[in-house]
Symmetry: C2
Subunit: 541 residues, 2 copies
């Protein structure tokens, strides 16, 4: 990668075979600018946008990341601005005849000895935070739960100093979702699996309305709670039992608002608050313990991307992903429409033909899903992406996939599935999700993420109440301007002040600090929380 | 309707041609119970469930509301419990050959002289509350807006005593929605039109991220804000202009988080708070004025239904709907899957063939939409409905449609459309929406509702931050138990203590009180707010 000081004209090429590079300088460069090697700009080129390194005749392939991101619509002499309007996007790659397991797994030496301070759970997972989460079967109860949570936070939480927060798992699911539609399995298992996220300490507390289709036992059938059930049987004579067996349905702690015992609104609030107490007591009794870094389950994502995403932040995340995999941790990458155009790279990196097959299945499902709504993967890119220099989804995808590093892909999850249910306990995993930031985050929570890394070029205040979100800026200008929202500045890579490897290591160490609770992310500091937004491909009646 | 005192065995038949009635007594009636007319119960029949009034041979049509709600699967002697497992549901009625405008419009004498105290808006609409609503182009900004709203409520709101509330219009829309998919028009116009709800005083304030696909000008194009624009031009030298033209885009007051001027998180908060001030000042200067009852725009809905819904609360709402129509007000009923089986009744009541055609178009769209997800309208009913005695969607639909009263149907809205954009300023309107309570409520808000009536049999704490919700219990037992959540007890109709007409008038008068701000609903008292949940039939990338 070409780097240099920030005053000289600076361009970045991702691969030696590329015939375009991007302009790195803040504010872009004016027409006439001459680079040290003699290349002169024919057009003014904004920061992050592409410049032709050689003469490109009409219909010439334009290569970036050593991939053809499109063909020129007209003759473009060297030094021209290569933007979306002069690029014709290629068709989506066919899902037939993809290379399978053709990339030899790179040699990745184990990285032992790294630890963090986490909360060990009965099911073997480890939390990075110690949160009481209140599950809701249906949006109908959200107002009541919100009222109760305010009360719990005001009256109870101060007495349990080891508990980090009380979070109402509000969502938009309701009886409207055609519960027996084949695709309804997606939002339902998402809700189920979020409840079981490691940051909630296996304390399952459900508020139900009573008449909803998604009854508590359907949301959380006994099998889904094996460990919780076991612990609960042991603790059968504890306060939970005392707090009222009315709510103890098949081992599940349920407060049902329509129960005949609830006379008046405050009786519902009192029940919820009272029932929360025993969960808080158990959570409060827990202490952080030293655990190996392998207990990390990191979801990586990008949002508000620009061309620097694929140059600075995402490569650094990719390097860090390799460190995590070497340390025995689990790393998930996602966002179907942002890998669709690089599916050949992914199937080539699959650890087994079955895994390649599963990836192809997810892509095919999504192609059909988008087609049903009469769009395709090109619906992904935003005006901000394009302003930031990303001409189309192919280019965006190449910059997005680098977040996955170089490890073999050892597992695939369908939307809303849980890593542990698929027996995945380490390594690089492809969790198929929409690219929407908060929908992807919601699904990664369901998968079992205990730490979230989010890169952004345009800037977003993204955060989740359920896990810490480490935000990484792709550009120094953004990192400076949003100094109290961005946790890491990967823009230093483009400035020539740090290498991809250095920023990757910095992230890795920061993750262990944040996971240990020794450092809070900016999103935690300001309590910036995006909503849980479910992926619901099923119809609503 | 048969009514009587509550200790004697009591059953309710909806129409003289019905061959079933429902048991009204609390707790139901045991087998062997003999009614005054000699009918003896063969089975124990729960409250709200149906009893055969005559011998029903196998395959006999079962009539309720003078409509065949199904055929018996076996021989059922008089006095038998007629429940979902002995009823075969009929096919959905074909959308071909429906009766059109065959019902003569009933004579409905005008009901003059009723007024309420409301907030007149520049666009001619009238608010029942005086709320500062902050529109969001994308879910990404929700955490920041929530932070800012807390600050505005703490620091500013106390200085503006005439302003009822500050509400962040949070929603799950984001760049994930394929914005150019044909169906994406639904969530987008919903967001646009909620912004223009009469309860927000035409004060439009938008928080944008910057890089989102749904740019402020796309969400709220100049034409959508004609009145607001006109007022803003007049007030060009007001504080809004002083507060910074950076945010004034084509007459739209936009705070863009990614604007270069925002250095640090608190600068975003400061801008939002500062920008809110001028809106609050204008809202605070408004006073309630006496306006005719015709300024009411009432959305009616039911949720958590039981058999009493169609016997007590919904008929009373229907009677009240007629009063409202006679007073010149607008009444919307909705919930496609709950009218689908009675579409012939609706087309027959259409005020014109075009309106019947529009209704059929909405049904057909929805049939296709559900079919795409491999379900049909029968996906609507819930376990609670069935426990409450509603055997299937046909029976549920009959009890739901009665909310519409007897007026001719004078208009039809597609999901997310706005009454005023369709030139509808009075009368009974069918607003096609999903039956999901909070999705229907969100769409009725977009249509321009300034008062909401919600009937419930099983009980739900439903509420909205944007408009008052009057909740009506179908049963006295629920009204007593949930005494501080239910605003009206229509159960008195089944108890023989009030007539449908009396409860209808009570609702009408209560509406004028609530609309005037003289009374708060229970949902307002407790600040119980369900989320805005968008209807998004488009795919998510």
């Amino acid at each position: 990668m070409v780097v240099g000081n920030r005053s000289a004209p600076l361009r970045i090429r991702m691969h030696e075979h590329d015939n375009v590079a991007i302009v790195a300088n803040d504010g872009g460069l004016p027409a006439g600018t001459v680079f040290p090697d003699g290349l002169a700009l024919v057009d003014t080129v904004p920061q992050g946008h592409k410049v032709a390194l050689v003469d490109l005749p009409a219909s010439a392939p334009v290569r970036r990341y050593n991939v053809v991101i499109g063909r020129t619509t007209r003759n473009l002499p060297a030094g021209s601005w290569v933007h979306e309007r002069v690029l014709e996007m290629p068709e989506a790659r066919s899902l037939d005849g993809l290379p399978v397991c053709t990339v030899a797994a790179p040699v990745m030496a184990p990285l032992p000895g790294y630890t963090f301070e986490g909360y060990r759970n009965a099911d073997g997972s480890v939390g990075t935070r110690n949160i009481l989460a209140i599950t809701q079967t249906v949006q109908c109860v959200a107002g009541v739960v919100e009222f109760a949570v305010r009360r719990i936070k005001a009256d109870l939480l101060p007495r349990y100093p080891n508990v980090d927060d009380v979070v109402a798992l509000e969502h938009g699911y309701g009886c409207g979702v055609a519960i027996d539609a084949p695709d309804a399995v997606v939002p339902i298992r998402t809700l189920r699996n979020i409840t079981l996220n490691p940051n909630f300490g296996n304390e399952v507390m459900v508020v139900s309305l009573g008449c909803e289709k998604l009854q508590p036992e359907r949301l959380l059938p006994p099998g889904s709670l094996a460990v919780v059930d076991a612990r609960r049987t042991i603790a059968a004579d504890s306060r939970v039992a005392e707090a009222g067996n009315a709510g103890d349905r098949a081992g599940l702690d349920v407060v049902c608002l329509q129960d005949a015992g609830h006379v008046g609104f405050m009786s519902m609030i009192d029940t919820i608050v009272e029932r929360a107490r025993s969960h808080l007591e158990r959570l409060d009794a827990r202490r952080r313990e030293t655990v190996p870094a392998s207990a990390l389950v990191v979801g990586v994502q990008c949002g508000g991307s620009d061309t620097f995403s694929g140059v600075t932040a995402n490569p650094a995340v990719g390097f860090c992903a390799d460190l995590l995999v070497r340390a025995g941790a689990t790393v998930m990458f996602s966002e179907v429409t942002e890998v669709r155009d690089g599916i050949d790279q992914l199937t080539a990196r699959a650890a087994s033909p079955e895994i390649a097959e599963a990836m192809i299945r997810e892509m095919a499902w999504y192609d059909t899903y988008l087609d049903r709504g009469r769009v395709d993967r090109s619906a992904n890119t935003t005006p901000g992406n394009k302003q930031g220099g990303l001409s189309n989804i192919v280019e965006k995808a190449m910059g997005s996939i680098v977040k996955s590093g170089s490890a073999p892909i050892g597992g695939v999850l369908s939307p809303g599935e849980r890593l542990r249910d698929r027996g995945i306990e380490r390594g690089l995993v492809y969790a198929a999700t929409p690219a929407s930031d908060f929908i992807c985050g919601t699904l990664q929570l369901a998968a079992g993420m205990n730490l979230h890394v989010f890169t952004t070029g345009r800037g977003t205040p993204y955060g989740l109440a359920e896990v810490p979100v480490i935000k990484v800026a792709t550009r120094t200008e953004l990192a400076r301007r949003w100094h109290d929202l961005m946790d890491v500045n990967a823009g230093r890579i483009a400035d020539g002040e740090a290498t991809v490897e250095e920023v990757g290591w910095e992230m890795f160490r920061l993750m262990l600090e944040v996971a240990s609770g020794r450092r809070k992310t900016w999103a935690e500091h300001w309590k910036l929380h995006n909503a849980l937004v479910l992926f619901n491909p099923a119809p609503v009646t």
